[in-house]
């Protein structure tokens, strides 16, 4: 698009961009500033801290609850991502490359799982997991995370796989490679960016989940960060642990912001791959 670049025009767009940046950053600055306020200043109703302290950060890492939750969150999200992507890669390959009977049915089924309200399966899972010994375990959370992210992962991967030059695979097969060799050595490197995009989306889903985390766990053994934050009591039962909560919020937010900023192109590609194809 060409446009007349009058200075007024430019000024308007620049102002708009500044507004967008403020929109995103002000809440983040606020929680960081809250986490740095000394306990006595938490109620001063100011945006910026007058004095700075790291006492809240020391407090949450001295407590057993938070480091355990951080470890659980990281482990559960990573394992879920690996397994979900592994399963989804096979399914997406089949959907894109093979004209098998019932393919449309499979896609429709996956699509309906994507629209599934999680609250509808929380009760049955809670009941079944208690009997099966999966309640309050990593696996108890990993299973629903894999399942609920599969449609998104298959959808995203399928969109990327359609762009892969599959003739290369045929060439490799003609040259004597087996199906799995052709996949691993030829197709996988080409499809890697798409796989990475899908993996980030799955990881963010698992890292973000709250409903399953509070319904299917009860102790430090498997409780993830969102659940731990919701039930964090702090040292005193009577004072609201505002400072500790703010510090915990900052600790779990910073890595994700870095991840998002580092891989923003991959995330945007992943989010929009399936949704808008002509």
């Amino acid at each position: 698009m060409t446009r007349s670049k009058t200075s007024l025009d430019r000024l308007c767009w620049a102002a708009g961009s500044m507004l967008a940046v403020c929109y995103a950053l002000i809440p983040i600055l606020w929680i960081v500033s809250l986490s740095l306020k000394p306990a006595a200043d938490l109620g001063d109703n100011r945006f910026w801290p007058q004095r700075i302290t790291f006492e809240h950060y020391r407090a949450i890492f001295a407590d057993a609850q938070f480091p355990a939750a951080l470890w659980n969150s990281l482990g559960i999200a990573l394992v879920s991502t690996l397994l979900a992507i592994l399963i989804a890669v096979f399914a997406a390959y089949a959907v894109v490359r093979l004209k098998f009977t019932g393919r449309g049915l499979f896609i429709a089924f996956a699509l309906s799982v994507a629209m599934f309200p999680p609250i509808s399966i929380v009760g049955p899972l809670f009941n079944t997991w208690r009997v099966a010994g999966l309640y309050d375990t990593w696996l108890g959370l990993i299973l629903p995370y894999i399942t609920l992210t599969l449609p998104m992962a298959i959808w995203t991967l399928a969109a990327f796989f359609r762009e892969v030059p599959w003739d290369l695979e045929k060439a490799a097969r003609v040259d004597g490679a087996t199906f799995f060799q052709a996949f691993r050595l030829v197709i996988f490197p080409l499809a890697a960016p798409g796989i990475f995009s899908a993996a980030i989306l799955v990881f963010i889903f698992a890292w973000n989940d709250f409903l399953f985390a509070i319904s299917l766990t009860s102790t430090n053994q498997a409780r993830t960060v969102p659940a731990a934050i919701a039930f964090f009591t702090g040292s005193s039962r009577f004072a609201q642990p505002t400072g500790s909560l703010a510090a915990a919020a900052v600790v779990v937010t910073v890595p994700l912001i870095l991840l998002v900023l580092l891989f923003q192109r991959r995330i945007v590609a992943g989010l929009t791959a399936g949704a808008v194809k002509g």
């Binding site: 698009m1 767009w13 708009g16 961009s17 967008a20 940046v21 929109y23 995103a24 950053l25 809440p27 606020w30 929680i31 109703n45 100011r46 945006f47 399963i87 096979f90 399914a91 390959y93 089949a94 004209k99 098998f100 019932g102 393919r103 449309g104 429709a108 089924f109 996956a110 699509l111 629209m115 309200p117 999680p118 509808s120 399966i121 929380v122 009760g123 049955p124 009941n127 894999i146 399942t147 599969l150 359609r162 709250f210 509070i214 319904s215 960060v225 969102p226 934050i229 919701a230 609201q240 909560l245 919020a249 937010t253 994700l256 998002v260 900023l261 945007v268 949704a275 808008v276 194809k277």
Partner: protein, 293 residues
């Protein structure tokens, strides 16, 4: 071609089998189980009282004021947040599409809320609005306990939802916006169409499928709202949503029979919303047509 076709079938289902098994065991089986349990009086605190009661659980949910209040609350939150997200998201999308220098900056900035845990976003806004710790009251010059009154609590909840999920909307809309041919806009401009005319008569019609898909995704998502309400009010002050209601009956009160009936009813609400969108916007054809690529 016959043998090749058969290998395709075998291999296709073999490759889809793990995904299919996972989705069936963790979604289809539980929903059937919930349907079964919803026909029983079944309270985990009194498991010996378990008895078949037919549709009694459904009747007691559907005749309770709490359920209908929760439905109304959920609809209010969904409609307000999704329509605001559409407007704001369209603004961000146009901004990212047109701003040349600021494009990367805006994209990076609006991705930040997307990466933040919903629970954390809810906490950030809760602390900002609380009269004890927050800065909003002194900024606006009022003295209001926002989360202690129904309507002001809705304002906080909806603001949080909008802040957190507008980026998703904006990115989808941006992808749709890039499909609009620049030549067409230039031609219209030469013919004297104003910016507003170009937006409503060219950009919007071309983007209609994208807008429909974005609205569908976000409406289904907003209807399931749980995290934000749980953190900010726990459903107090008459702000309970259907998911919060279901959670309280299932997990806090351990009433599996009644809770399962609620789960099934929420499931039907979601189906209804999806069907309404697919029918109303005619995107069913678009989605199935796309699958056959």
């Amino acid at each position: 071609m016959q043998p090749g076709r058969q290998t395709d079938n075998r291999l296709g289902w073999l490759l889809c089998a793990p995904a299919l098994i996972a989705m069936v065991t963790v979604t289809v089986y539980p929903i059937v189980y919930a349907l079964w349990v919803s026909l029983f009086r079944y309270d985990l605190r009194f498991p010996e009282n378990r008895a078949f009661v037919g549709i009694d659980n459904y009747l007691s949910v559907l005749s309770s004021a709490v359920w209908w209040q929760a439905v109304l609350n959920t609809v209010i939150i969904t409609v307000c947040s999704v329509s605001a997200e559409l407007l704001l998201g369209m603004g961000f999308a146009l901004l990212m599409h047109r701003a040349i220098a600021g494009r990367k900056l805006v994209r990076a900035a609006i991705l930040i809320p997307y990466g933040i845990i919903t629970v954390v976003a809810a906490l950030i806004w809760k602390f900002a609005f609380l009269p004890t710790t927050g800065f909003i009251n002194s900024l606006v010059g009022v003295n209001l306990a926002w989360l202690s009154h129904r309507w002001s609590a809705f304002v906080v909840i909806i603001a949080t939802e909008i802040w957190k999920t507008t980026p998703f909307m904006a990115l989808l809309l941006l992808a749709g916006l890039t499909l609009v041919p620049g030549d067409l806009l230039r031609a219209a401009r030469v013919d004297g169409a104003s910016a507003w005319q170009r937006f409503t008569m060219i950009i919007l019609p071309i983007m209609k499928p994208t807008i429909a898909v974005a609205l569908l995704f976000r409406s289904l998502d907003a209807f399931r709202i749980f995290d934000t309400v749980f953190i900010q009010t726990r459903g107090a002050e008459n702000t309970e949503t259907v998911s919060i209601f279901g959670y309280h009956v299932l997990i806090s009160r351990l009433n599996m029979g009644l809770g399962s009936a609620i789960s099934i009813l929420i499931f039907f609400c979601v189906l209804l919303i999806a069907a309404a969108y697919l029918h109303g916007f005619g995107i069913a054809d678009a989605l199935t047509g796309k699958e056959e690529v």
